[in-house]
């Protein structure tokens, strides 16, 4: 993991040497790792950008206590692709392939906190795709939701909606 982060930081510091770039922005993860990014990347993150705007650009170090150094590189990678106009189906497929269910949820929260609409929509679709064919029990576990039906209520509802219970994947207990 530490290696991944440092390689990510290397690639970012290379782009930093780009002579056309203005002052870089330092994003500080919750576990105090500093990620230097181009101002254009920061623009993609509405929360960060509004923070910069409020201080007239004087503050360029932004603490992101809710986001870990594990998640932030993914967010930055997505934003880089986004401003380069290189968000393709192939990129998105590769991007999520690396992520397990917990990571997708963490990134979803990060995207929500940073207010990155495109990433948020994309991850919503990813989570929806992952649960679409799953059982009711799986979805409860996935989101940590307590079943507050009485057994009778649930049985009745399931009977009414029986037609929606076809084609459901068997639960995979290994996930999560």
């Amino acid at each position: 993991m530490a290696e991944e982060v440092s390689s990510q930081m290397n690639s970012l510091s290379i782009s930093e040497t780009n002579p056309s770039s203005s002052a870089t922005i330092s994003l500080v993860s919750g576990d105090d790792i500093v990620f230097k990014v181009e101002p254009t990347i920061a623009k993609e993150m509405e929360t960060v950008q509004s923070f910069i705007d409020e201080t007239d650009g004087k503050i360029t170090t932004i603490p992101l206590p809710n986001i870990s150094s594990h998640d932030l590189p993914y967010v930055i990678e997505y934003c880089e692709k986004s401003i380069a106009g290189k968000i393709t189906k192939e990129f998105e497929a590769e991007f999520v392939k690396k992520l397990n269910n917990e990571e997708v949820k963490e990134l979803f929260l990060a995207a929500n906190y940073l207010n990155i609409k495109k990433l948020l929509d994309f991850l919503s679709q990813v989570i929806a795709d992952r649960i679409a064919n799953k059982s009711v029990e799986y979805v409860r576990r996935y989101f940590g939701i307590e079943n507050d039906f009485t057994p009778e209520e649930e049985a009745k509802l399931r009977e009414e909606l029986a037609w929606t219970f076809t084609g459901v994947d068997p639960d995979d207990e290994d996930e999560n």
Partner: protein, 189 residues
């Protein structure tokens, strides 16, 4: 990792309708997600055997469940006006239509349904488009030669025999072909 409820609901918006409705069984809160009210739901969505709509009169017709009326209706999507409307499926039909389908043939919109009271496949014609009272039974064909409940008419021969199949996944008039003339029920259109 727990997501706040309002964020979970954002995710639910991306689900296919069938999953969304199944997940009403998750909890009482999920059951009440009624910002997601759909007037019509297609209950025959089986990924393995999707049924296409029937094109007739510039509109695509499909059989869908009307959530408020709690019955199957014919939903028409007008391709020019891009609007949905619905028609009742058969008027005064005893019992709820089971294993029914739409069939456009001979310039009329028709419907067929299994009639388990009389053991027949009933074929109806809507004599006047969008006039619910114009549904007329044209044929009641004996059911006993059909191996399963999935009969659907395919076409009509020159001698006016109705040819159908009892294997809708394989919409070819072969093997499972039923020629009503052979089963001594001459059905003319």
């Amino acid at each position: 990792m727990l997501l706040p409820q309002e964020l979970i609901f954002q995710i639910l918006l991306w689900l296919p309708v069938k999953s969304l409705i199944r997940f009403k069984c998750v909890s009482n809160t999920w059951k009440e997600v009624e910002g997601l009210h759909f007037p019509y739901v297609n209950r025959n969505i089986h990924e393995e055997e999707p049924k296409g709509g029937s094109l007739y009169n510039g509109a695509i017709h499909s059989l869908d469940f009307h959530n408020d009326l709690e019955t199957e209706v014919i939903v028409a999507f007008d391709l020019m006006e891009k609007k949905l409307s619905y028609m009742l499926l058969l008027c005064d039909y005893e019992g709820s239509p089971m294993h029914c389908g739409l069939w456009v043939y001979g310039e009329f919109l028709r419907a067929y349904t299994m009639n388990y009271v009389n053991d027949t496949v009933d074929i109806f014609v809507m004599k006047e488009y969008k006039v619910n009272s114009s549904w007329t039974l044209t044929h009641a064909l004996p059911i006993d030669v059909i191996q399963n409940d999935d009969f659907s008419p395919l076409c009509c021969t020159k001698s006016c025999d109705i040819v159908g199949t009892d294997d809708p996944k394989d919409r070819k008039p072969c093997g499972s072909e039923i020629n009503w003339d052979n089963v001594n029920s001459h059905a003319s259109i």
